[in-house]
Subunit: 216 residues, 2 copies
């Protein structure tokens, strides 16, 4: 049974791990392969007919048992190798090793302009059939806005968000964009939007992100 | 490759399915068993050591292939049997068949009082190690608030949400509660909060939910 760990010092959340970038890339590819396979499996379970279930349950449990034999402490959280490569494999939104994450790939432009992401969302992210769960849309926006606020140079935390749902978002390809609209002391103001496959903005968000006192 | 379905008429989202309640319960137990096994598997993949991965990938893919042989159209979305039993097996927040959903079990009290839910959230829902992703917290709140607004008697959609994050939420047991604070024409005002295992409220939300024109 999984037990929640004690909440560590914030400083432990961005540790240095002395791995060459090529080795980080290699490990990430291996881990992502298995997580992608689990993503496909969980999508298949959504609509599997009862006749196929009986044989599958012991097979799934056997794989889990085999994986449980050789477990590590992670790495979870954000790591960096001091050479410009960061990774966050377990994260619920961007973690390639986390099969509940789409995962979102957030792109920070080198020379200003909006931070963006695009991803194809399947039935695991649904509310009504064919429709993205509105809470799932906000989960993605919250994460993107955190990246916008941090701006690659500071640690920020979500303070308040104001979300406006204009219309339901069809499942399938969606895109996100966000940018800083202002800064006031330790507060960073961020605007972000999520658009459907035809580019129609379905959800908008205004956020106030805060640089925590211990990180100033 | 999964393709997004065309967005159907809203009326198709709450269809009647003529199944005895006992049969719904029986099918749900079967489906939930497999989804729970996939939940355990995806948690094990989060921290599996590289040595265990190589053998697991073909096994996971084989199960997926077996499930793909016998697929159904769902049932996704909300169904009801006309006898007081509703089910929403594929939903991204409450769907027991959806391994990305915790799943949240929302409890509507028979005689007034807050709508509540409690759930244990493991590392699949993490941001930093041991900390619930703030977007994942909002995803759960959004869903609970929709149940509050609908009040078991009408169809509502999320309009706007205002979220205040007071502090990080440790992973583990969390509880949610929500209630209606006002109604203005087709708008329903809802307050909700999410508390950690010690009962400390970590996230608060104010929402305006709307009864769509076609459902009035």
């Amino acid at each position: 049974m999984w037990q929640p760990p004690a909440m560590g010092s914030p400083v432990t959340h961005f540790p240095l791990e002395d791995l060459p970038t090529e080795e980080v890339d290699r490990q990430e590819a291996v881990y992502t392969g298995l997580a992608d396979a689990v993503r496909s499996l969980l999508e298949a379970t959504l609509t599997a007919s009862p006749s196929a279930l009986a044989a599958s349950l012991p097979a799934v449990s056997a794989v889990t048992a085999a994986l449980r034999v050789a477990q590590t402490d992670g790495p979870l959280g954000v790591r960096h190798n001091g050479r410009g490569r960061t990774w966050s494999w377990g994260n619920a939104v961007i973690g390639p090793r986390n099969a509940t994450a789409p995962p979102l790939e957030v792109v920070r432009p080198a020379a200003g302009g909006p931070v963006t992401a695009s991803v194809v969302l399947g039935p695991a992210h649904q509310d009504q059939p064919g429709v993205l769960h509105p809470g799932a849309a906000v989960k993605l926006l919250d994460h993107l806005m955190g990246v916008v606020a941090a701006d690659g140079r500071r640690l920020t935390m979500t303070g308040t968000l104001r979300i406006t749902h204009h219309r339901p978002t069809p499942l399938g390809a969606v895109s996100l964009a966000g940018w800083i609209t202002g800064e006031e002391g330790s507060k960073v103001l961020v605007h972000a939007e999520l658009a459907d496959a035809s580019g129609v903005v379905t959800v908008e968000a205004e956020g106030i992100f805060v640089v925590p006192r211990w990180a100033r």
